[in-house]
């Protein structure tokens, strides 16, 4: 019945308007599409293109086609040249995944706690909401340098004061945990903000009804808040995971570029491309990072049915 009611009375004319609107929309979108094609599409195409060549960054014109040789290639002498055969690359993948899983998990838990606290009515919560964004508002490069000083073993508050002169950043095995701590410190507030936005859209009368039925606060959280919060939470999770997978700045600033190459996939790509001038191999690594992130997004979206609207 409802379907019938919503069908237009004069279908021909309506379609005309819709078609005209669609045409108009295309024209309005065109500048944006061209801009995207130029600033994102073309570089992406070039990256895919160069990933099939052996080329040097300083002279990209002299290149030779190697197919997938940048990914996997063994010479007749048994020397492995593809980056997928490089244990350093897999170390970077392992570290990036560890970094992503642990930091996003901690940020979600802490972000949820902070959001629940800030969502409840108390005096001065407006100030608190603004204040909690401070770590997130500081540029990453600045906060990373700040933390590098804190971790310094001879004068840092943490390195000397709390850890008693241990150089945590010197060793990539311990450094990864120090980096996770920095990322959690920095991004928890962003996570809290996203969750808070979700919390505020939940109807208040629902909790009143739950109170009447005698449900405990604990039951209310697990049975009402969490299920209703799921869409907002998942969108936040996707955003944070993507950010964490392509992390680059804190590694580069706190560890230096050589060690950053063994702790993040993007650091590895930068080293191949910039330090080693391997335009082809570096592009191939970038393609791999792109594909990996793409696959993870697809898994997220399909498995959890995330809706972005």
């Amino acid at each position: 019945m409802t379907v019938k009611a919503s069908t237009p009375v004069q279908p021909v004319r309506a379609r005309g308007i819709e078609a005209a609107r669609a045409r108009q929309a295309i024209w309005l979108l065109l500048p944006t599409l061209i801009a995207i094609a130029l600033v994102a599409g073309y570089p992406l195409y070039r990256t895919f293109y160069f990933s099939l060549f052996e080329a040097n960054l300083t002279s990209p014109d002299q290149r030779s086609f190697v197919g997938l040789g940048n990914f996997w290639f063994t010479t007749e002498d048994g020397v492995a040249l593809g980056f997928l055969q490089d244990p350093k690359w897999w170390g970077a993948v392992k570290n990036t995944l560890l970094f992503t899983v642990v930091s996003v998990f901690l940020e979600t838990v802490f972000g949820m706690i902070i959001a629940l606290v800030v969502n409840s009515a108390f005096k001065g919560r407006a100030v608190l909401r603004t204040a909690m964004l401070v770590p997130w508002a500081i540029p990453t490069v600045v906060s990373a340098q700040m933390w590098a000083y804190l971790y310094n073993d001879s004068f840092g508050l943490i390195g000397r004061g709390i850890l008693g002169g241990q150089a945590v950043l010197a060793n990539t095995d311990t450094a990864i945990w120090a980096l996770i701590a920095v990322d959690v410190w920095k991004t928890t507030s962003f996570m809290a903000l996203l969750i808070l936005a979700g919390l505020q859209s939940l109807p208040g009368d629902m909790y009143e009804a739950a109170d009447m039925d005698g449900a405990s606060k604990w039951t209310q959280f697990w049975r009402l808040t969490l299920p209703l919060l799921r869409p907002a939470l998942l969108v936040a999770l996707v955003f944070r995971s993507l950010d964490a997978l392509r992390v680059f700045d804190i590694m580069s600033v706190m560890l230096g570029n050589v060690n950053a190459a063994t702790t993040s996939m993007t650091g590895y790509a930068r080293q191949a491309l910039i330090d080693n001038q391997l335009l082809g191999l570096g592009s191939a690594v970038s393609v791999a990072v792109f594909v990996l992130i793409m696959v993870i997004v697809v898994i997220y979206v399909t498995a959890f049915r995330v809706k972005f609207d």
Partner: protein, 419 residues
């Protein structure tokens, strides 16, 4: 009204012509220690002399970062920077982007420099850059502390150095908890390659890759050198030394918190400065031997003219001026930057400011080159593999023998079908 317009046009025309003869050049300088100030001063003197203008482009401190930035500029054929300051290991890597100075600079002017450094800047017969200053690793020590603990001379071997450092450190710790025996460049970057090459060569372990391109690092002497260095960590060097670069090490030494330091000559002039707590108490010696010889890594910076510069003639003139004897003398006196012109080592003013220049002359002339020649465009990868391996040994992740064996494999992988 017409008169006014005519007058304005005329003035504009005159200004335009006078501007056309004077050019604005951009010079990329380093910023380690006093480098930036000296670079600005030198450029200003040339600008005043010639009536041109020089803009200074500040480069990142770490040589690896600087290379990355320069490569992007050069690959894009950008004319933004006219004159680049080049590390001694770069000419092979970047030669095609620079003007051939052979024939454009008088031969006598070229031959006034050390031959070895001119050779390092010559790639396939092309003179890529003119030497500006040379560098070699040195051992800095505290003369007052050596005397206090009963030592009469600087250490001759690494073993001796470690013993002295330990004794001084134990004594000084009683009054100064932050005191440490020995600081060096332990961060995983090009600086560590320089330091570790000195250890390996001093133990008779070769130069990573020999002059014919053969990978030689997998030998017991090299392994022993790395194990020796690893034994310093937490005994005479702080754990954090594996995150120090030149300036971090200098900061600790200059604050009076270290007995020994490995660094480049530039640290001398700063150590004698007004804000230095150790002024007048610094001694300089060749780096200790590991049983084979004393070894110092050859460093140094050159000036090259970008092939994409729009004012090449003026840029060449600037390079000739900055690399010339007058400017090198000023830099030697004010900043302890080692001249590349032989005659300046007999100059009384230079020797007065840097007493060790005369006695350590042989250290500068016999410095060991990093294997940038034989490894050509892949030098950076070799250096990274080497410094990462050394870093692992220093951090206790691996032991010398296993580390050099694995490193040889890594370098052969980088070599691939050949250098």
């Amino acid at each position: 009204m017409k008169k006014v317009i005519a007058l304005i046009t005329l003035t504009a025309a005159i200004t335009a012509t006078s501007n056309a003869s004077a050019v604005t050049l951009t010079l990329a300088c380093g910023a380690v220690g006093q480098e930036l100030q000296l670079c600005k001063d030198g450029a200003a003197r040339w600008a005043k002399k010639t009536g041109n203008e020089v803009k200074i482009f500040e480069s990142p401190n770490l040589t690896n970062d600087r290379l990355g930035l320069y490569q992007q500029q050069l690959a894009a054929k950008s004319s933004d920077i006219d004159v680049y300051q080049l590390d001694v290991v770069w000419p092979g890597l970047l030669s095609q982007h620079f003007v051939d100075l052979k024939g454009k600079v008088p031969a006598a002017e070229v031959s006034a420099h050390f031959k070895g450094i001119i050779d390092a800047n010559t790639v396939n017969g092309k003179l890529v850059a003119l030497p500006w200053f040379t560098d070699a690793g040195l051992l800095y020590y505290r003369t007052d502390l050596l005397k206090k603990y009963g030592f009469t001379a600087a250490p001759k071997t690494w073993t001796e150095m470690a013993l002295m450092a330990k004794k001084i450190q134990d004594g000084e710790r009683k009054s100064n908890k932050a005191f440490t025996g020995f600081v060096f460049q332990g961060k995983n970057y090009e600086g560590l390659t320089c330091d570790a090459l000195e250890w390996v060569v001093s133990f008779g372990g070769g130069t990573i890759v020999d002059s014919t391109g053969k990978v030689t690092i997998n030998n017991p002497q090299a392994a022993k050198a790395l194990d020796t260095a690893a034994s310093w960590i937490k005994s005479i060097s702080p754990a954090g030394v594996t995150t120090y670069d030149e300036e971090a090490a200098r900061g600790i030494f200059q604050a009076g918190n270290a007995a020994f330091m490995r660094n480049w000559p530039y640290a001398w002039a700063l150590g004698q400065g007004k804000d230095s707590k150790v002024a007048g108490k610094i001694g300089v010696a060749p780096l200790p031997s590991g049983g084979s010889r004393n070894a110092a890594t050859l460093g140094g910076w050159q000036l090259g003219v970008s092939a994409y510069s729009k004012n090449q003639a003026a840029a060449i003139d600037l390079v000739r001026y900055l690399a010339g004897p007058q400017e090198q003398k000023v830099r030697a006196i004010e900043g302890a930057y080692n001249p590349t012109i032989q005659s300046l080592y007999k100059d009384q003013d230079v020797l007065k400011a840097n007493p060790f220049f005369g006695s350590l002359y042989s250290v500068f002339t016999s410095a060991v080159a990093r294997p940038s020649g034989p490894t050509k465009g892949k030098y950076n990868q070799v250096s990274q593999a080497f410094s990462s391996t050394v870093s692992d040994v220093l951090n206790g992740k691996s032991k010398g023998q296993a580390a050099v064996a694995k490193l040889a494999g890594d370098i052969n992988r980088i070599k691939g079908r050949g250098w």
